[in-house]
């Protein structure tokens, strides 16, 4: 069996036949995963300095030169890196006295940090498959972003205490502004809210759970939802980017709701994180520094929003991006700032970020060309081997060699 690192579900049941690096036959891969496998032959990153191709040794020494002597370096990305590379990245940040951050600083970092601190109840996907009778997808559309979420864990499968599966034993509730593919599956369980309406929805649901009349148009439906959640035996809430952004990063109301639900019954939270090992980076940095992102190792450990990429681009003097494409994601004014920086980009494929880098260093695709370990988005550790031959270096080796050279 092979693994898929196409998303943070890290599916471990993939059957695949290759001819060289070309996929001949697969079983169990979703559409997105198939794209990930097929990408082995598309737009691969090459070692380059100032746009000219060089050999890998020169790319590595040039990468070190870009970073050397700088006072305020940002090491950014890490969600598409193995645990070993993430650890090495944190060591590199310490050696350079630099800042290290990942995309969770502008997405679900606050939720993940609460989970890691043990302040938000959580569980594994295996618990969900075996026991969950209510799955809530909040600002989250895994049918698009994590296509096998519902079929492997959260809705369709039969489990130990859920022998009759989704038809009778499991209910899906979707809270979203858009009738997403996941909302379409939930059908009557879809609660459409207005953009930014999550806080009002939480307030109404809190009222319904407390036996009060909720201040919403359809009071009966909200009261029914409150009753359903109160009666749930094992509830799971999967959070997406939509929730954190709708609340503008102030998640206290959501945390209170989860607290209230757990006074009444049992509800666990699993953030649906984007890159295959986002959870791994957050856990590794948390273990090392007590925070999941936005950490400076300049004088010991310092943490704060000023060390998140959104703010730190104003003051840093060089950037190393590893396995991420912030140029494509960041708002135009920030992407412009990033483009003006001396930059090293380490990655598997050509992206908008690698195209703007002074030095590019290619690495192998984890789980396909190189082995390693990672944490699934529910925190379960998985170990994968390479399944095709390749000359690409593993990410950990690239980071360690840069560390030796600086």
């Amino acid at each position: 069996m092979a693994f898929c690192t196409g998303c943070s579900l890290l599916c471990d049941d993939i059957e695949v036949d290759f001819e060289g690096a070309k996929v001949k036959r697969t079983l169990n891969l979703c559409r997105k995963g198939r794209g990930h496998y097929d990408s082995l032959l598309v737009d691969r990153l090459a070692p380059a300095v100032d746009g000219s191709l060089v050999d890998i040794d020169e790319a590595l020494s040039s990468a070190a030169e870009v970073l050397e002597g700088r006072e305020k370096i940002l090491l950014f990305g890490w969600g598409n890196s193995t645990l070993a590379a993430q650890k090495a990245g944190i060591e590199l940040a310490k050696k350079l006295g630099s800042v290290i951050d990942d995309p969770s600083s502008y997405s679900q970092g606050l939720i993940t940090e609460k989970v890691l601190k043990g302040e938000l109840p959580t569980c594994t996907f295996d618990d969900v498959r075996n026991f969950a009778d209510v799955s809530i997808f909040w600002g989250d559309d895994p049918s698009s972003s994590h296509p096998r979420h519902l079929s492997r864990f959260s809705y369709y499968p039969r489990g130990e205490k859920r022998q009759r599966g989704y038809e009778e034993d499991r209910e899906a509730i979707v809270i979203d502004v858009r009738k997403s593919p996941t909302a379409q599956i939930a059908a009557d369980g879809f609660f459409k809210i207005s953009p930014g309406g999550d806080a009002d929805f939480i307030e109404a649901l809190m009222a319904a759970l407390g036996g009060k009349i909720p201040k919403v148009e359809d009071k009966k439906r909200m009261l029914n939802l409150g009753t359903k959640l109160r009666k749930a035996k094992f509830g799971a809430i999967f959070t997406g980017l939509g929730l954190a952004h709708s609340l503008g990063g102030d998640l206290d109301a959501f945390f209170s709701l989860v607290g209230k639900l757990n006074e009444l019954t049992r509800f666990s939270v699993i953030p649906t994180l984007g890159d295959y090992n986002t959870r791994g980076f957050n856990q590794t940095l948390f273990d090392e520094a007590g925070h999941v992102n936005s950490v400076s190792f300049k004088d010991g450990v310092d943490h704060g929003p000023e060390f998140g990429i959104a703010k730190y681009l104003d003051s840093c003097d060089a950037v190393m991006v590893v396995g991420s494409d912030p140029t494509a994601v960041l708002p135009a004014p920030l992407a412009k700032k990033l483009a003006g920086m001396p930059m090293v980009a380490v990655g598997t494929h050509r992206t908008l970020t690698t195209d703007g880098a002074d030095v590019t260093v290619p690495i192998g695709v984890a789980g396909l060309e190189v082995g390693g370990t990672a944490l699934r988005t529910d925190g379960v550790k998985v170990e994968f081997d390479a399944v095709v031959d390749s000359d690409y270096l593993p990410d950990v080796e690239v980071i360690e060699r840069i560390m030796e050279a600086v």
Partner: protein, 130 residues
């Protein structure tokens, strides 16, 4: 009356876009799945727009031309756009009260237009321009 409209735009990720992204961000397939805006039927009608027509999206941060898709479900005043380099061009980078940089939602002026969808090369050029 046909013309421009101020709409709230909410970004999302689509499965077909995810597939095309894996297969290369410079591909036509990725552009076709990213450079689009899903409009409410009533809003589209008010602007004199049909499915597959081009629209100009403008904010204080930038402007892009994308393809209009008219939704079957009603969502007046709100439009949905795949999160991509096209939507990123329209974001301000401002950090909200709760400390999170806004990536999911913005207001934009939407105007029917002609010509061509903004290419990814043009976006890259704009980002690199000093």
């Amino acid at each position: 009356m046909a013309g421009k409209k101020e709409l709230t735009v909410v970004t999302y990720r689509g499965i077909f876009q995810e597939v095309e992204e894996a297969l290369g961000m410079y591909s036509d397939g990725y552009r076709d799945q990213s450079a689009l805006l899903e409009l409410d039927g009533g809003d589209a009608k008010a602007m004199g727009l049909e499915d597959e027509k081009l629209i100009l999206l403008e904010t204080a941060s930038g402007r892009v031309v994308v393809t209009a898709k008219v939704s079957e479900d009603p969502h007046p005043g709100i439009a949905f756009m795949p999160a991509s380099p096209w939507s990123s061009q329209l974001l301000s980078g401002e950090v909200g009260e709760g400390g999170l940089m806004e990536l999911k939602r913005f207001s934009a002026t939407v105007t029917p237009t002609e010509g061509a969808v903004t290419s990814i090369e043009e976006i890259v050029e704009r980002i690199r321009a000093a």
